[in-house]
Amino acid sequence: MITRLVGALALSTALCASLPTFAQDQDLAAPDRIGLSSAPNKLVVRLTGDSPGNTDPDIAAGYKDLFVAFIKKHPEWQLQLQIQTQDIGTEQAKMLEQAKSGNAPDCAAVDSFVLGQFKANNVLSDFTPYFSKEEIADLFPFVREGISGADGEIYAWWWDTDLRVLYRNKSIVPDAPQTWDDLKKAALASKDQGMEGVLFNGGRWEGTTFDWLANYWSLGGKLVDDSGKPVFGDDDNKSKFLEAVNYFKDLVDSGAAPKRVATIVTYDDLAAAAAAGTTALFIGGSWQNAQLESTLDPDMFADWTFSHIPGPTPDDHKTGTGGWTIASFSKDPQKVEMCADLVRDIYMGPANALQQQLPTRASLYDKYPVFSTPANKEFAADLADGQARPGAPIYPEISNQIQIMMGDVLSGSKSPEDALSAAYNASLEAYDRL
């Protein structure tokens, strides 16, 4: 009897104690706010889907827990959340305009490939004081270079990265193609088994440029010089550029890739073809391994693997690396520090583990078990071949011109020489006007 009474008392005490906490957690997280609405300090935070605004309910819930735990450590603050749309280019251009007029959010997600524009306009606050030298040194070199200004200080924290790889169905393509020729042969051989050949992005969008650049980079080509001026059509780079373009053109002309690659404007199209069993080879992003695992039957998924993107020779291969940064636009040191704390508590590891997005620091691959899988370890090793897009302000227009060029070449509207000439001249004109 006494035992029951003590048990009941303990249970009711525990319930009563947990009620205020539960109520408080509810109060702390609203769709557009984290923290109490009565908190005196406000930090406007503009994020992407890498936040409680994620469309996947499980990931959104995971982020919500991380944000609530963070704000409990800072009860005098509230985060006013804004979520960017999928139209990244426009969102980032708008944010740059806002930053120039002093109306940007205090803390925001900035795409790594446009970070150069924000740095060039001196709208970012210095993040260096909030991160240790060891933490900065632990970043991959291309990441450290990407977030550093000309003065050597860091102006953002690049928290996740990805890379492009060649996915293949082992039951149809047993050996990983090492060179461009290997890939063409493997793709043509796969057609004999009813496949449509190798797929890659070839339509009018950023993925087309980014995925193809790996081939150009593997030849040692450069897009811009140290001053940010386009150089991809000059005497040093023209032949490399044409060689890389002709490689893709030959894949289409020979039938190793279908002409429809000129219409592919999303990575999901590639995964859809894999799921439908119509392709055995495609160039996709590292995150698509998890996508395939969740989409395909376990038996089907077991047939799929990946390897580095083939190069002109077995030893010359590169891959494009991207990812997101968090930066602060605030001039208030307290808000800048709060933004840095947000990065430290949420985006320096926990968010990577939550979404299985590759960390930008070598040490985190051992810290989180999720990155110890063979696939993620291989991705981490392939990052050694990683190359980021240039941070020059002209890059988005160069990318636009390469997309146009690729469409013209793959659809047969222009010869590679004419298409390169048009793209280079347009990029130079745009550079002169910037």
């Binding site: 305009e97 469409g407 006007r433």
Partner: protein, 281 residues
């Protein structure tokens, strides 16, 4: 007009009783502020070298000269002409056809005319981006693409809907006609309803065929409606680029890049504000 009293209001009313300006001033201010100012600002910016990433700008004719001298402009204008022209013809014809069917169905009290009208309107409320994605699935040239699968079922060759630069502009027109036909149908339906029925009764008495009634009564009576509809479709289509972005992004190459998308790309891809607005002037 006698206004009693000696207060400010009474004096104001007495003084400006027949003058329109003071009464229209609030409307003029609102329109000027929210409609004319942006237009003037666009024109002003076209005479500058303003960019989204620069802080200073100077006044110059260089942006206008550059916009008109662009080697891409002729192709962009031709694509825009195909897009707008094709959309006007397609939307007018289909809108008129559906409106005639609905009117005829209503006259005969047939079941389903409301469903037909509502079905056509559904396309109108679908956002452009979503419409583009739907048509991308239909036009997909993958082995599992919607329209090509149907063609294969009836033993016809698949069509390169989006990868052929000569076909892609027409695919974009089809998707836009699908979206805009509902609007035309509503306009045509209203126009058809306003035609005096005694004209048709007289034509029937005279023994006019259906084709003759369409040619000599319906179309002449709809002349104003067709003109207004054409103007509205032209304005709508000239500003359309959301559905093209999600359907083709403007590709392959520049095959489906219309002037509004071209402007968008100049401003938001190249950060060239003055170049973008110059191309729209």
């Amino acid at each position: 007009m006698d206004v009693p009293g000696n207060g400010f209001r009474a004096r104001f009313n007495r003084r400006y009783a027949g003058a329109p300006l003071p009464w229209m001033l609030p409307v003029i201010v609102v329109i000027g502020l929210f409609y004319l100012y942006p237009v003037f600002d666009v024109i002003r910016l076209s005479f500058t070298d303003a960019t989204l990433i620069g802080n200073e700008h100077t006044y110059t004719f260089a942006s206008i000269i550059h916009a008109f001298g662009s080697p891409d402009l002729a192709g962009i204008l031709l694509t825009t002409l195909i897009f707008v022209g094709g959309s006007i013809v397609g939307q007018q014809l289909l809108g008129l056809m559906i409106a005639l069917i609905v009117i005829r169905g209503e006259k005969r009290r047939l079941f389903g005319t409301t469903i037909l009208r509502t079905t056509a309107l559904v396309a109108w409320v679908v956002p452009g981006i979503a419409g583009g994605i739907v048509w991308q699935m239909l036009f997909s040239e993958a082995p599992f693409g919607g329209l090509n699968s149907l063609l294969r079922m009836i033993h016809l060759h698949p069509v390169e809907w989006l990868s052929d630069p000569n076909i892609a502009p027409w695919s974009v027109v089809i998707s836009n006609v699908w979206r805009g036909t509902a609007f035309s149908m509503v306009v045509m339906y209203a126009g058809l309803k306003s035609i005096d029925p005694t004209l048709y009764e007289a034509a029937e008495v005279d023994g006019a065929s259906a084709t003759q009634r369409l040619r000599f009564i319906t179309l002449p009576q709809l002349r104003t409606v067709i003109l207004v509809n054409m103007i509205l479709i032209t304005i709508q289509t000239m500003n359309t680029f959301d559905s093209i972005i999600s359907l083709t992004g403007g590709g392959p190459g520049r095959a489906t890049e219309v002037i509004s998308l071209y402007t968008f790309n100049i401003v938001f891809r190249n950060y060239d504000l003055s170049g973008g607005v110059s191309s729209r002037c």
